[in-house]
Symmetry: C2
Subunit: 140 residues, 2 copies
DNA sequence: CTTGCTCCTCTAGCCACTAGAGAAAGTAGG
DNA sequence: CCTACTTTCTCTAGTGGCTAGAGGAGCAAG
């Protein structure tokens, strides 16, 4: 076991950028690692695993606070998995919500494109945006 | 023609909140309206129309800068509609991009839920997040 | 005249970073 | 040992699109 790797190597290994890694430490998502005599951070294998966990969760769209909870849970192997499941389920519901909203928007925006032969005076884009009655969109 | 309505009424008429209306003025999306002797803003019919246009575009997910351009275009009725169409098409592409990304995330997150009978030690949520190999997700 | 509403300006906070300044430490080559 | 280059350090400020709050002034009704 070496004493650990510097932040640049941790960054390369985890896919999380150097400033972001420091930011995660600052907000307490990552423990403060030991330092060299020259004040440089040294990350060990557990830190790298934690960084990969975070990166992966962020890629999947989890926000920081849920990730914080998941990391706590991951450190308690005997704890029932219910909470982790609930967090993931909430995230899934959130994704579904976003997808359905975007799908509705998509239909609305698609409906107003393709008027390239007209002038602005008769442009569907401008017209639809200006006149709420033209639109199928429901208020939030 | 009255001298115009105060900001609260403009807010009610447009669906844009009072502080947001002031914010739009601050960033130059909305012209600074005339004031009363007592320094209150007075919005006329054209301002209200502009506010409704903005609100509608925001509801459809347009960002501020595109809306700024669309507002400029809306003020030039003889201009060809090409630019407006291009802005809307870009937004549509953006929406499509987001939908497909979210759909991929949805599949990935769905795959790891429903392990409520296990402990954290064998939890799919924690496991999948911890081990990149478990995951179908592609690096951006 | 007092109560209560609306309005004013200004500053700071939200999220999750990202960018940049300026300095110190480490590393490779001569 | 000196120099050049890279990496790292801390700190501050900026992003987008608002939102919240402080502290004060105007205004309409009773």
């Amino acid at each position: 076991m070496t004493g650990g790797v510097p932040i640049g190597e941790a960054s390369r290994a985890s896919g999380i950028k150097v400033p972001t890694t420091r930011y995660y430490e600052q907000i307490g998502l990552l423990p403060s690692p030991p330092r060299t005599e020259g004040n440089r951070r040294l990350y060990d294998a557990a830190d790298l695993q934690r960084l990969r966990f975070i990166r992966h969760a962020r890629e999947l769209g989890f926000e920081i606070e849920p990730i914080r909870e998941l990391l706590t849970l991951a450190g308690e192997p005997d704890h029932p998995c219910e909470s982790a499941d609930r967090i993931a389920a909430a995230h899934l519901a959130d994704i579904d919500h976003k997808i359905s909203r975007l799908t509705a928007l998509r239909a609305e925006v698609a409906r107003m494109t393709d008027c390239s032969n007209h002038s602005v005076a008769e442009c569907r884009v401008i017209e639809v945006l200006g006149d709420h009655g033209e639109c199928l969109h429901e208020r939030h």
